[in-house]
């Protein structure tokens, strides 16, 4: 599979076998890669690193990144257990990117789009000033080029370390989506595991079409917070993609092997 060729997974010492997190089956790594990191036995969707996700959706060699040099500041001088500045540096060293979202131009099934993909490996894909700014710039690019906007979310929500400024990104990104809408630029929002908090409660839930990966946890509040609040055990499958489809919150649950085709089909409708 060509689309895996240049991913950062290469820098991680590779194991020959991977264990499925759901059915615990030992899977030959090469088979797993061929199968889009989906367990062949139980269909469990492994977390897909950000670059693999881009390779999964974008036509080979079409992705051109925007704004890769935007980096977070530390506006609050935030002092947690580890200062924010250090946490940022660590994440940057680990992921080799500057922030928790990658945006750029791409083609999907031959159709030009602006594509934005959250990076869960970077501080849980949390949205601070840079993520917000990059989403807004991506939307502005989409308007300028008259290309549809495709966003793939995996995020724990707003980034605590940037406090109120992270919260303001909800308004800022919501406003950008409103502009897309006014300009009649289609917006496809694809939710992967997990998408919660301030990202769900802003840009991610505003797609013209909202798709989700099987089993993805999607919600405003996290399950633990809800359990603590209502003092009940949550039903099985609660807040999972299938459950939310049943409740009419999202439009479709799409198997990873069908992700590109499905997005392509929807894009052709709007093109």
């Amino acid at each position: 599979m060509g689309w895996f060729a240049k991913t950062r997974r290469n820098i991680i010492p590779s194991n020959v076998w991977e264990k499925c997190k759901r059915c615990e089956e030992a899977i030959y790594r090469k088979d797993l890669e061929k199968n889009f990191w989906v367990c062949q036995k139980c269909d469990y969707h492994f977390a897909l690193p950000n670059l693999d996700r881009i390779n999964l959706l974008a036509d080979e060699g079409t992705f051109e990144e925007f704004d890769a040099a935007l980096a977070s500041d530390d506006p609050l001088q935030f002092q947690g257990v580890v200062p924010y500045r250090e946490r940022l540096k660590k994440s940057q060293a680990k992921t080799l990117v500057k922030e928790a979202i990658t945006t750029g131009y791409a083609k999907i099934c031959g159709l030009p789009v602006v594509l934005a993909v959250f990076n869960f490996d970077f501080m849980g894909g949390s949205m601070g000033s840079v993520v917000g700014e990059k989403i807004v710039r991506a939307c502005e690019n989409a308007i300028q080029r008259r290309h549809p906007f495709v966003l793939v979310s995996t995020s724990g929500g707003a980034r605590m370390d940037e406090g109120i400024l992270s919260l303001m990104q909800m308004i800022k990104t919501g406003m950008a989506v409103a502009r897309l809408s006014m300009e009649r630029i289609p917006f496809i929002s694809f939710l992967a595991d997990p998408t919660t908090g301030g990202v769900t409660a802003s840009v991610a839930m505003l797609g013209d079409v909202i798709l989700a990966e099987p089993g993805a946890l999607i919600g405003f509040a996290g399950p633990r917070v809800i359990e603590q609040t209502i003092k009940q055990t949550l039903p099985k499958g609660f807040q999972r993609a299938e459950f939310l489809k049943e409740k009419g919150v999202i439009d479709m649950v799409v198997h990873r092997s069908q992700a590109k085709n499905t997005v392509g089909k929807i894009l052709r409708f709007f093109a």
Binding site: L70, A158, G163, I164, A178, L206, G219, A221, I226, V249
Partner: protein
Amino acid sequence: MTPTVHVLPFEQHLVELENKITELRALSESSFLDLSAEIETLTQKLNASRCETYQCLTPWQVTQIARHPQRPRTLSYLERLFHDFVELHGGRQFPDDNAIVCGLATFHGEPVVVVGHQKGKDTEDNIYRNFGMPHPEGYRKALRVMKLANKFGRPIITFVDTPGAYPGLEAEERGQAEAIARNCLEMSFFQVPVVVVIVGEGGSGGAVALGVGDAVIMLEYAIYSVISPEGCASILWKDASRAEDAATALKLTSQDLLKFGVIDEVVTEPVGGAHRDFETTAQNIEKAIAKYLALLKPMSVEELQQRRQAKYRQMGIYTDQK
């Protein structure tokens, strides 16, 4: 008789002084002793001491004032600042949500739409109001009523006072996240002036859903934050009791937010907090609302929208390391 004011932990030394004054008063009445000089001295000492305490509050102390059980609520301001209030309950899709009140009213004789979170004034009322934590239908009701304002060209005034959107099972099923996101989107393109007043707790997404405006003003001892200090502390230190440290780290006071450009103005509160003097607090808010409405109402729709968009477009602090 006025009901006793709930005392916050950092006000204990003030209560002792107050008690002493009350004792002296009682004594002078029953014994015909002239203690007025002593009473006067103690009263001055009390006032000075209260001023001193309130001049250097920690963010955690501010948080406690923002959450004071007797703090004026949205309905307290509705009674004092607005006339002819007609509450609208219908979201049209689900039963009414009592954590949000909204409706038609007049402000200085002009028709406006008022929307706000409503916390309860006691335990029973709080259960009725769900402690000011709305479900999605609350936000959808608010949006429906705000759209009326937009349709008929009336300014919108919102009051923010919520610990957060309700994190519950049904709330998730009915799309809490979508309801909040939708409000942000719609409010950003209203064609009428929107004035947001943060009066108590601005709890994360639940606050943002009523918080998009041309002017955002905030009471001196209100807070506005991405997460509660307790939530932040349990993530950072796995210990909710370190909320005091988290409150400092989060920079959630009105002064902090003014510095970040998130709010336009801090509205002063009486010494001792809004709960000690509803009237003065309401008058201060009234002046600020009037000022911003006077500024915003003459603006054309284009100017209003452009200004609002430009304001939020530049929110955030980052570097370009090209």
